[in-house]
Symmetry: C2
DNA sequence: TAGTTCCATATGTAAAACCTATAGATCAAG
DNA sequence: CTTGATCTATAGGTTTTACATATGGAACTA
């Protein structure tokens, strides 16, 4: 049985006239008779009663008609849906990000993307950078968003958006009244830092300090920017955080711009080379 | 798109190897590559990623797979169901009958048939003989059951089962103590009769009386045997009824066998010439 | 009875599905 | 780095089959 038989069957079931059905199918009548006969022979069931001057569906034919319509509809839907997937206008998108990146604008970007793409479902995976990369390789997620991307891997890396890094200090700290600060002046401070060597961001910040002539005294290592805020707020030390996190945090900390060599915490997106059109569209959407 | 493409696609989706899939499909590898490529070209979507040494479904391919499986399942189910319909082991059967025929055994026959054919649904239409014939012609019912069948029509007529006709009289009637009676002795009685000339049964009974030398004095005409019982029970007259009706009625009447020329009320089934296998099976089932 | 309509059959043609052979590409092993 | 093995794509020829034209046969109509 082929879909051709189904199409022919339905045309005949609707017209109940071989000649008319053949015309509608842009073919001549004999091959239509042939193909219908072939279909009936394969099923070993008569689908049409051919009488003197009338063609009618048998009981079996009536039942077959319902199935035939369903099959053609399914084929049509399959083609439509597959094309939508290919265009990236429908489907499920697994996005991995750290909580601070979600906070820095990714959440709102996701909301906006979903609003523009009603047929897209976005699943957010809040993961550490290391886990993000692992799951990207395993096809568990389609796109990752993190501050510093590893360069060795065979991924598509894009800088999604720029973001400055600033300093946060607890209330009452000697720098709390300042608006900005140079890194060189932080030589004697206690630092809440990102975990070394996991975090490329941490390595970046550390090397910046070294360029300014000192090794930061790290009294605590954490994974998330929000944890830096928490510990700084509690008075354990000072720390570097992305600007959006430092300025908009609910916790009581003072945010200072860094002047001179200003570090960045630009957000980067990662995709596999075989990324779907949906993933590519989303990454393009978030890039500005 | 043809079902062939679907079958090939699924074989490849399962094996992820052109060579192996082709072997499973009993064909060589090149035409399989061709057909998959044709399918992809028609959809204008890549369904498989062919890499160095691996074949994998794309996101679109994964979605297409679900549709493909549904289509093949639908085709299989269509074939199975159509064959079942053709065998008459499944489907909907519309049966028309008079209430007295239902009472005379058709009800229990329907119950038994349904028990043996779990996939058959039987819809009972309780109709007068005249309406039965009309609906049979209109394809509204598939089989009719009545006592006397018209012979002119181009229907398949079968005698389903035999049934004698007897006489019922009210309690206290002069014949109430008799076990049997001759028609000739009913010359001076008042009769509750079936409607003339609608009922072939009525015509038959009337002519029997005439053969015995008198025209029955008809004081009331009704349609149903049960109505004859009701009126006779009320003392309006005597009447002929099928044996099962006369003997098993809840109303208070006396049933007498008829000796000499004994009339019959044999139940006949009617089908159209284009009757379905299900209708034929049911009629065969009820014939004994 | 003649004409018309409509489906089935017969026969030839064109399309396309398939096969064999082979090229091209990649990976594993020597 | 080279050789062999493995796997898919392409090329060219063959077979199958879907299709078209022509025609036969049955039934309804005028």
């Amino acid at each position: 049985m082929e879909l051709r038989h189904i199409r022919y069957f339905l045309a005949l079931a609707e017209t109940l006239n071989f000649t008319v059905a053949a015309k509608r199918l842009n073919m001549s009548q004999p091959p239509l008779s042939q193909q219908i006969a072939d279909l009936e022979r394969e099923l070993s069931v008569r689908l049409f009663d051919r009488h003197s001057r009338s063609v009618a569906l048998t009981a079996a034919g009536q039942v077959f008609r319902r199935h035939a319509e369903a099959m053609l509809a399914q084929a049509q839907q399959a083609a439509d849906e597959v094309k939508a997937i290919d265009r990236g206008t429908t489907g499920i998108l697994n996005v991995a990000a750290t909580s601070s990146v979600l906070f820095s604008g990714l959440s709102t970007a996701i909301a906006a993307f979903k609003a523009e793409n009603q047929n897209v479902e976005v699943i957010i995976h809040e993961l550490s950078p290391k886990e993000q990369i692992e799951r990207l390789e395993l096809h568990r997620v389609d796109a990752c968003f993190l501050r510093f991307a590893p360069e060795e891997k065979n991924f598509l890396v894009t800088r999604a958006w720029r973001e400055k890094v600033g300093l946060i200090v607890p209330p009452g700290h000697r720098l709390a009244s300042r608006k900005s600060v140079r890194i060189a002046s932080l030589r004697d401070e206690d630092f809440v830092f990102y975990r070394l060597p996991d975090s490329a961001f941490a390595t970046h910040l550390q090397s910046l300090c070294v360029q300014e002539g000192f090794a930061p005294r790290i009294i605590q290592q954490v994974v998330e920017s929000f944890s830096v805020v928490s510990l700084v707020s509690a008075g354990l030390g000072i720390g570097f955080v992305p600007e959006t996190v430092g300025r908009n945090s609910a916790a009581k900390v003072k945010y200072l711009d860094i002047i001179g060599s200003s570090p960045t915490a630009d957000v980067h997106s990662l995709m596999r080379n075989d990324a779907t059109a949906l993933a590519r569209r989303f990454v393009a959407f978030t890039t500005h």
